[in-house]
């Protein structure tokens, strides 16, 4: 491993202050960053250990929602009774990801910042604009079974691998950040970015920014929601396509809807038009399919992943159907 400095932050302010030096990275659970350092993909000059900061609580917000501490473990979040009851799709999404051991280590903040699993990103002998800007994209015209069908650019077709983030996108979560210029809130839809011509940048965080919490609004779609993950084996695999779906029903009619896709883009994919297409419609497969088609209207496949377009449509119909059928809040 390359040499790096290590410092333990004793407060959030200390962490942000220390992060001023270029090439530093925060480390908490380390489940992704340390792997990337061993593979020589991530090369931070210094690590700032934030794992002891008091940001690991899950607490009520004034608005009736929940504040998930950035350092709360994925497992503790998934099994939190309030999360399970009020935001079951989130709990289900977390438990669909990684392994029990990883969820015990990984933090919520870290989950937001995990890097893509694109083969080329991981193999330093191959081109990758995300790892080495300007080197080209290996996946375009290469092996791209797990790659994006939405929002990609001619520079990068990588996908964001998180399950948790797909549910957070659907729930309209807000990321609380503390930076050199103070605190600010980033709506989840604006937190991750599309690759464009700067695929090396995954998020809208600025240098020195520290994620302190993720706030969930009061509305959790507990009655009618689900998280559906489709992958190449039953466990321990990233999503080919995943769907976070939430419905608010009035009898058999959709009053409000949330729909986010994972495994298909550089960020969790949401489209207000697709959700609007559901409102006022009967909660039935035909309306779900119509919404899916809106969401996927610009989808574009590559050599090995075109199947994802139809798979995503079918998965959306299934997830919304399951959400609609659900009677009352359910545990994952």
């Amino acid at each position: 491993m390359r040499s790096f400095t290590y410092a333990r932050a004793d407060s959030a302010a200390d962490a942000v202050g220390r992060a001023g030096a270029s090439g530093t990275a925060f480390v908490a659970g380390g489940t992704n960053l340390l792997d990337l350092m061993k593979a020589d993909v991530a090369r931070p000059g210094g690590l700032i250990d934030i794992s002891r900061l008091p940001l690991d609580r899950i607490e009520e917000t004034a608005g009736g929602g929940l504040r998930l501490g950035a350092l709360a473990r994925n497992a503790d979040t998934a099994y939190d009774e309030r999360v399970q009851t009020r935001y079951p799709m989130l709990s289900k999404a977390i438990l669909a990801g990684a392994s029990a051991q990883l969820r015990n280590m990984a933090t919520n903040g870290g989950n937001l910042l995990q890097r893509t699993r694109c083969y080329y990103f991981y193999d330093t002998a191959t081109p990758c604009n995300k790892r080495e800007p300007g080197s080209g994209c290996g996946a375009i015209g290469g092996v791209n079974r797990i790659h994006a069908i939405l929002g990609a650019s001619d520079q990068c077709i990588a996908v964001h691998p998180s399950d948790l983030c797909v549910a957070l996108a659907a729930l309209d979560a807000v990321v609380q950040v503390r930076g050199p210029d103070g605190e600010r809130s980033i709506p989840f839809a604006e937190f991750h970015r599309l690759p464009g011509d700067r695929p090396e940048i995954d998020t809208t965080l600025r240098p020195g920014d520290l994620v302190t919490s993720i706030d969930l609004p009061a509305k959790g779609f507990a009655e009618h929601s689900t998280y559906l993950k489709i992958r190449d084996r039953a466990s321990y695999a990233f999503a080919l396509v995943s769907v976070a779906a939430g419905l608010e029903l009035d009898g058999g009619t959709v009053r409000d809807a949330r729909l986010a896709l994972g495994g298909v883009a550089h960020k969790p994919w949401r489209d207000p038009e697709a959700e609007a297409a559901l409102i006022g419609k009967p909660a039935a497969p035909d309306s779900f399919r119509a919404a899916a088609r809106v969401l996927l209207r610009d989808a574009k496949g590559h050599e090995h992943n075109s199947f994802k377009i139809e798979l995503a449509e079918r998965a959306i119909v299934r997830a919304l159907s399951e959400a609609a059928d659900r009677k009352g809040a359910s545990h994952p």
């Binding site: 491993m1 092996v143 039953a234 199947f307």
Partner: protein, 758 residues
Amino acid sequence: MTAIPSIPGFLKEPNGPIGKPVSRVDGRKKVTGDAHYAAEFTLPDLAHGYIVSSAIARGRITRIDASAALALPGVIHVFTHENRPSLAWFDRKWKDDDAPKGSPFRPLYDAEIHHALQPVALVIAESFELARYAARLVHIEYEAAPHQTDLRANRANTFTPGKDKGGFEPPPKPRGNPEQAFLDSPVQVDAEFTQAAEYHNPMEMHATTVLHHDDGTLTVHDKTQGAQNCHTYICNVFGLSKSAVRVMSPFVGGAFGSGLRPQHQLFMAMLAATQLKRSIRVELSRPQMFSFGHRPETIQRVALGAERDGTLRALIHEAVQESSQNENYVEIVVNWSGQQYACDNVRLDYKLTRLDVHTPLDQRAPGAATGVPALEIAMDELAFKLGMDPLELRLKNYAETDPNTGTPFSSKELRACFRQGAERFGWAKRSPAPRSMREGRELIGWGMAAGVWDAMQGQAAAKAVLGVDGKLVVSSATADIGTGTYTVMTQIAADVLGLPIEEVTFCLGDSSLPTAPIEGGSWTVSTVGSAVKAVCDRVRSQLFTLAGKLEDNPLKGVAEADVLFADGHLIVRDDRSRRLSITDVMRGSGTLSIEEEARALPYLLARARHTFATHSAVFVEVRVDEDLGTIRVARVVSAIAAGRIINPKTARSQIQGAVVWGIGMGLEEEAFTDHRLGRVMNHDYAEYHVPVNADVPDIDVLFVEEHDDMVNALGAKGVGEIGIVGVPAAIANAIHHATGVRVRDFPITLDKVLAGLR
């Protein structure tokens, strides 16, 4: 056919632990961390090596600049082709016991690059982390040349190999008139099948630790399936005397064939240890596990012609596989198709295409695991066209003798596998039409397939030392790659000499022990077990002779054949009160120890006139989501005929493990090559998928009774490979039954099913 006399010394009736579900004798060591693997040995002067892998697939190195690496404090040396010492010149010096015809790969030999991830430099440093970091600072410039890695694009560019590798005969000449018979057949199946490249990926990555002793001798701890194979190789390559080096591999963390040939980490560690005169460890990274040996990608065609009653009239099986530029790796693939069913018009054809890849390597049931599934899917397709039960079709064309050779089988209880497996599975309740069984949104499919694998035997020697305390130590230079060799050899020895298991120790994985061949092909029980039995038979005779010299010998007047060895005693068979303990024989005769060595050979008289094979019938239930195409295997019944089962517990584990791999082969495993780069891209456990626990259902294994007194003195054929052979086809056939979608390309990922569900 003349009667063959039963094999000399045949074990008619075990009287001890043979046939019992004895727990692994090395189990405690394994679960307590007391079993040590190749990368776990050390000496105070140990240095660490990290291999630099080629960034291109073909071409040559034009410049190597290691100065940045060497500038780091703690970096000891960087080995490249430019500074390597003089090594063996002739190809034969680089050959090993599993080498196919050709010129073996020589690491760091010259500037030429033959395949992606080829080892091009070795960095030696005081710590592993430093070596790995320094390896990234070695600057290498290449002049790339065009490469070919795409089998499909090169499928027309083939040649027909000969007998280019031990254990694999070229296909027999065509019999009858297969092309015409096919055209004349009222019912036909003619389809193409593909099998993706698979990598062995044992849990333990390949590693070698060379311990450099003060007297200049070397102890080499290597991950290998053949300590002596590696011993010979390094002595030849480095010009060392046999007595200066000892290769050890007492524990191996899975191998599946990947340890059959000496791999480059062994060469690298030896190079550094001999040059630097210190202890060295070299361990491959997980991506580097994709730098050697794999189950080759294969394109096949199977054409079957049949009468309307199901009688097979024509069988054509053609296969094209990849090999490297430097060696002819063959696994023939098609021969079992000519053996499995009675058919008068058969053509089997096997070809190779040279690609710019490393040489493929035997992987669990090499050839059969690729070829038999193609045949068994074609049989299922034929049954479907005929409107016949797939099991009935197989029984209809059951081969009583080996159609390839005309010789009888030494034993073949495949019918019993079909019958007992079907009964256990509940096959009779299958509704024949596709998509006719469901539960909610899950389509249920039941499929079956037959399997076959060779029951081979090699030559091996074993040594036995019985102490005055009645403790027995038996040894042979074989391997236990997790299969249970320690346990079954202990059982065989304990059984022959009537000793409790605890009194017997078996030693293996050491090149200084009596000769044994590489451990593979499911032949170790047959090969080494026979030697263990033979040497213990000798000890037994010795004990009987010594007993005869005692003054008050209770066995007086009794022939050796009428004496039982049980409970640590010599006992008169017909009067069990007349007995003498082994320790009394030893003490009474003043014998401190009995030492014997014996060699066992295949019983050629029988081998020449029979076909020896294990058989299986596999029944699978799959559940396929009718909208999403996701597939899960819900249950598996595997019925195995493999002669006498020495240990039903370890044998069951072997079959269960093989079924798990069969699920992987059927549904998940595939190395994705970027043909522009000539490089496998999913070279880690995250993206190269093998089954996880959640993919593995209840696996019900049953062993049918099979008596075989020609295979060897133990009557045991060996298991391991037979467990995988039928599984991928049974899964594919079950998917067809569930969905009506026929997928002929392994692995069957959900997108392939989804395409058919539209």
